[in-house]
């Protein structure tokens, strides 16, 4: 918890190496930190600043701009119910109220058992599947009230863990390039080797 693990430092160095300028790796590294701890800690931001040659304030400045980065712990499952216009037209406001009743928390809060954080969010780009939601950024479309309750029961029973990895996991597949295949020509002469 806190600073990046040795394994993640190695991952961070590889990510930094793919960009012409190190600072371009800042958002990807904040995702690595969030994946490690489930949220972005002050210690992780200090560590990222060291790795990129930035100040802690510069890292916080970028981190605080973006919705996905959490500055405090959240539930294992972040349930984002879309409240964009297409979902609103098809009942998202009632769905959010229903979710608040089912979970016993208001949107923005976490259940007492720490399992689920509920949020009402802006458009998540699944308008043809409205009303929709995402669990840790994995989509569920055409959500009815009954369907929501079933989803919550499955999350509590742990039966959909393969579908919904813990909060912070942005991508379970990473781009991998053999060093010989990496051209690096566009990269201002910076490191040619890039493996992820």
């Amino acid at each position: 918890m806190g600073r990046l693990s040795p394994q993640n430092v190695e991952l961070a160095r590889q990510i930094i190496g793919r960009y012409p300028r190190p600072r371009s790796a800042l958002i990807p590294l904040l995702h690595v930190a969030q994946e490690q701890d489930g949220w972005v800690t002050d210690e992780a931001m200090d560590h990222i600043a060291e790795l990129l040659g930035l100040t802690a304030a510069e890292v916080l400045g970028t981190c605080s701009f973006y919705e996905m980065f959490r500055r405090e712990p959240v539930g294992k499952y972040l349930v984002n119910i879309c409240n964009g216009i297409s979902c609103m037209l098809l009942g998202s406001e009632a769905l959010i109220e229903h979710a608040e009743e089912t979970l016993g928390v208001k949107a923005g809060a976490t259940t007492d058992d720490g399992l689920i954080t509920l949020q009402a969010v802006e458009c998540i780009a699944a308008c043809d599947g409205a009303p929709c939601l995402a669990v840790n950024y994995r989509y569920v479309n055409d959500v009815s009230h009954v369907g929501f309750d079933e989803l919550v029961a499955e999350l509590r029973a742990g039966s959909r863990e393969s579908e919904f990895p813990p909060h912070g996991t942005t991508t379970r597949v990473r781009q991998h390039v053999e060093p010989a295949a990496w051209s690096g020509k566009g990269a201002d002469g910076l490191p040619k080797v890039w493996i992820l």
């Binding site: 958002i27 970028t62 216009i85 297409s86 609103m88 950024y137 597949v173 990496w182």
Partner: protein, 435 residues
Amino acid sequence: MAKAMRPPIVMARFGVDDGHTLEGYLRTGGYEGLRKAIGMGPEAVHAEVEASGLTGRSGGAGFPAARKWSLLAPGKPSYVVVNGDESEPGFAKDRPLMERDPHQLIEGSLICAFATGSAQVFLYVRGEMALAQERLAQALTDAYAAGYAGTNIMGTGVDIDVVLHWGAGAYIVGEETALIESLEGHRGMPRLKPPFFPAVKGVYMQPTIVNNVETLSNLPWIVLNGGAEFAAMGVNRSLGMRMFTLSGHVNRPGNFEVELASMTFRDLFTAPEYGAGIRDGNQLKAFLVGASFPWLFEEHLDIKLDIDEVQQAGSMLGSGIVVMDDTTCAVRAAWNLVRFFAHESCGKCTPCREGLSWLEKIMHRIETGTGREDDLDLLLDVGDNITPGLAWPPKQTTICPLGPSGVAPIISSVQRFRDEYLLHVKEGGCPRGRH
């Protein structure tokens, strides 16, 4: 009535179960466009794209892709940035393009880089789209391993790298200069144009092409079939096929790729193979062709999905079409849209940062029962400070168009449904009650 449906271009592999894999992609003609493009040379590829009339497939401006490439200033290195930050309410078509046909986007990006002399592509994907990232990561890994990307592509001596990058949640990053700021590791705040036109001073102040996912996904087909074949579909500036996300109160929401200028909005909403009619047999109240743009109404049903026709009607042809039936509260819908833009304002320009939050608060009080009759004038007055004259196309007191985008739904709804606003004031809230 609409012309017969044409076979899709960018959605052609949506029916192929393994179309997202390298094997499935190659089996269905994948990377043949890139091979042909490299054989033709950059100038010939550019000429084909110019002949195709392909325009940007994100907003409604209809700017030709080939002309955007022509603006690229000399100077190396130059970069290609793929804008995969789809976030506009009602738009849900780039996400399935990335999830279901990632190689097509990679191939299109490589063709663009080859034609514009760039050796480096940054593929910027919206942070919330986990499956799109995973599919693209796997596709890039496979493309590199098979020699379709990186060093010495297909043995031709051409080198182009593609880096998969991911965002972290900010609508404004869909604006190209904000996207560049974000790619450089900063807060996603737009840059002033001039001087920071991406084609001149883009990523790391180098010449940069920023193209949308769907725009690039069309390139393999255009190279393989020729620009003239693409331009044979549609009329004037509205050429080729284009994806639209149809959502809201229709019986059959979905993504549809249609020949431009071949059908009317009425066709799109009612034809059984498209929207299949408005739900419950209800009447149309209004429809959006992009959350940022003025609303359209019943009298616009017979205009075509055509860039110029929609502009003449006072709006712009975006990619997300949202249908509202007559059970919809106009105030509630406008409030939802204004709230979105107020929430997504980056804070750089005062009229947008302050003005949109005021507008949201005024809309909220009208809808929930503490509005005043003079709030209608106040809404328009605040709006006028963001977009002087409340004209269309909008003027702006801000660096980017996000501010005026948040005013558009207010102008549309106040002008058209003034009585509905007044009823809210008189009755102390929404006459339709809870929503």
